[in-house]
């Protein structure tokens, strides 16, 4: 069995350490123990994790279910809940974050963990394979070459590139919509999608005058933390905004050079259409 890198998110250190001992017995590697959702989120990006064991009641402002939702939005790591609360209401709330398993404490033996972890890893593998075949299906759909007679040169270039990408990965196929702006390749679909959503547009508008924290963004768009995180992630991916740390908070501000690149691209396009 390959060694799995595991994070334990548990506010009781003794329990966390006991779980770590059981994991080691199962030949897994408990590489990180944290006590709060915030700590988990700050450490996760620097770790190569295969699995997260998450308590529901945590130290800090977020509980395990909220933390799991944010992790699911941003990462592809299976999460198993470990909790003393086995009631139906908690279980129903936990279900919404699509966990891979649910273990009720106390955990005293490695066999309390093994079946759930094995099943979770198996399901995760199946889910990833299914995702890959869906991507393949989308690629095949895209690879039908259209008649090119009427296309303007820029759009024609996008479509001509399609035929050269048979059987390649999604990341590579994405390049068909890449255009060069200021010596940098950008993806026009990502740019347009990132900019044309009313909530993201509102976030960008406020960021024109001041930086915002995630909870301020939540209040601004009146949406949950996971939705807000999704929008922030999308804007960060296209480079329109960047995050920076100030004390314990992460602030987001406009990445002016990137926004202006986009602005000039659209400006030229609009100018072309208006004359």
């Amino acid at each position: 069995m390959p060694q799995l890198n595991v994070m334990i998110v548990e506010d009781e250190l003794i329990t966390a350490k006991a779980i770590a001992v059981l994991l080691k017995k199962l030949n897994y590697k408990p590489i990180s123990i944290v006590s709060s959702g915030e700590e988990a989120l700050s450490k996760i990006k620097n770790l190569d994790l295969d699995l997260i064991l998450m308590d529901i009641i945590l130290a800090g402002n977020m509980d395990g279910i909220e933390t799991a939702k944010i992790i699911n939005t941003n990462y592809n790591i299976p999460i198993i809940f470990i909790t003393a609360y086995g009631d139906k209401k908690t279980l129903n709330r936990a279900k919404l974050s699509e966990p891979y398993g649910y273990i009720v404490k106390p955990i005293t033996d490695k066999n309390d963990l093994l079946p759930t972890i094995e099943l979770a890893m198996y399901n995760h593998q199946i889910k990833n394979e299914l995702k890959k075949s869906n991507i393949k299906f989308e690629q095949i759909k895209q690879l039908i070459e259209p008649d090119k007679n009427l296309l303007p040169s820029q759009i024609r270039n996008f479509l001509e590139k399609r035929s050269d990408h048979l059987g390649q990965t999604t990341e590579e196929i994405k390049t068909i919509y890449e255009i060069e702006v200021s010596d940098e390749k950008i993806n026009i679909i990502d740019w347009l999608k990132s900019f044309s959503n009313s909530e993201r547009f509102l976030i960008l508008e406020v960021l024109k005058s001041r930086p915002l924290k995630l909870d301020e963004i939540e209040m601004l768009i009146c949406k949950s933390q996971s939705t807000s995180s999704h929008h922030v992630k999308r804007l960060e991916e296209t480079g329109f905004i960047k995050g920076w740390k100030d004390g314990k908070y992460i602030y987001y501000s406009l990445n002016k050079s990137k926004i202006l690149e986009f602005a000039h691209f659209i400006e030229n396009w609009l100018k072309d259409l208006s004359i």
């Binding site: 008649d147 007679n149 347009l192 959503n197 508008e205 301020e216 602030y251 208006s274």
Partner: protein, 110 residues
């Protein structure tokens, strides 16, 4: 950094949402932000087209193209004229001239 209160955020949001240019730009961004509509506009910029030409070049079915064309025409981003039995679509240049101005005003503030 000074934190914003809930009321301050509410006021900022209200001011933005009441701004006519903001509303207009957002409306157009939501329309042209769809890649199919973006491609249709780029295609029509090259030369006026019939619906069948657009379908062929975008490799999409008639219903989907007709839907996007309807939206573009409704918001006066494209116009149509009858050529025999069929409608020929072209860019509504005046709207783009207006949009070009709103867009520029918008980004001068950055």
């Amino acid at each position: 950094m000074e934190e914003l209160t809930k009321n301050e955020i509410k006021t900022i949001k209200k001011e933005i949402k009441n701004n006519a240019s903001y509303k207009e730009l957002l409306k157009y961004m939501e329309i042209i932000g769809n890649i199919d509509r973006f491609l249709i506009l780029s295609l029509l910029n090259d030369k006026p087209c019939f619906l069948s030409d657009i379908e062929k070049n975008l490799d999409k079915n008639q219903a989907s193209i007709a839907h996007h064309v309807r939206i573009l025409e409704k918001h006066r981003l494209i116009r149509s004229s009858k050529k025999g039995k069929f409608k020929e679509y072209s860019i509504f240049k005046e709207t783009f001239a207006k949009l070009f101005n709103i867009w520029n005003q918008w980004f001068h503030v950055i």
